[in-house]
Symmetry: C2
Amino acid sequence: MTIDICFSPALLSYYAQPNDVVVVTDIFRATTTMCMAFSNGAKSIIPVASIEEAEEYKQNGYLVGAERNTKRCTFADFGNSPFEYTENRVKNKEIVFTTTNGTLALHAAKESGKVLIGAFSNIEAVVEKSIELGERIVVLCAGWNNKVNMEDLLFAGAFAEKLSAHTSLNLDSDAAKIALDLWNIAKENVADYLKGTDHYHRLVANGLEKDIQFCLQQNTLPLVPFYDKREAKIRVR
Amino acid sequence: MTIDICFSPALLSYYAQPNDVVVVTDIFRATTTMCMAFSNGAKSIIPVASIEEAEEYKQNGYLVGAERNTKRCTFADFGNSPFEYTENRVKNKEIVFTTTNGTLALHAAKESGKVLIGAFSNIEAVVEKSIELGERIVVLCAGWNNKVNMEDLLFAGAFAEKLSAHTSLNLDSDAAKIALDLWNIAKENVADYLKGTDHYHRLVANGLEKDIQFCLQQNTLPLVPFYDKREAKIRVR
């Protein structure tokens, strides 16, 4: 079994091989938020790349989650905080979703063999599902506007560590070594390690420490959302 | 003063700002080799992206260095080993040069404010020149076919460390933190740390341990090649 890690959606074409299992991650906060929505009973999520598309869905009566630069778009029902997606608001609902980076990463990945949604919230469940589904796993870090970010790399390192605990793993890729070595520095206190980073600052400046803490907890939402190509939706079953 | 680090030529457009000083690095081996050529008196280097262009120059009587996948192209006078570019072969000569990754990175950078050639061989000289030239420095890692590699990231980390010893530095970028933290793990024994990496294997498999050792030595060739936009050549003066 092989793992590779792609640090930016703009690099995926250089990493992708046919039949890859691609694990899309956007720790702060899109993929964590999707896990929360499904955990609270959402039926499906329709990921859209642009604000314009999301607004069109809204006009047609859909529930819409839309965020840009950490803030909820004014027309939308939800922003990108996991705590907004409560059971009474999302149970059995279909939600249209667009975020600064997460939906961009999904868009880049959608032609891959299988596409799973990964976060610290469901890390162990995604590791197990990946082993079941494929021989080559690529963790795709959403980053920030196609730039590399730390929290997604740390997730990738944690993912590689957990995967290697379950199965014999080819870790030859430099990207995997980079992510693992950073994870080994950070893992004793991830929130503390992230204090010097871009997105941490941005979230704290917007009063979102609670989101940060939640997004870094492991295995709180043990389900595996996947991208259903035929329907162009994310579902859990 | 600000530093950012771009992990792949394919990401430069997301990192670039007007008037950046871009330090292009391809530690194994293109930028090290260019430093050696200039140290041995080469007059200028004409970087070309394709083998076809390099062959055309060769047919027109130019000296040509050309490498793909660590091997010298058969038509060429030199490959990509610094030890081939001896004084008796390069002094006062103009050399056409194409390599797997280094010239790709140069091509990506050529519209930047200033473009310098960086390697461990000239690291301190490039740090000093960068401080003289600009307010915002971007280290552009050549990587391998647009994928991230370890040795270029380590150079970037070492560069950030040295730059911050000279001047007050904005190190807020996640990419800079990643490179610095890796450099801090690796710096006690860089060759040892690199033993698990892709390109190290590739070079050792081709009998090039001597090149590796040389490419990791600091300040052996203290000059600063730069890209002269007007002439589309690399020069030192």
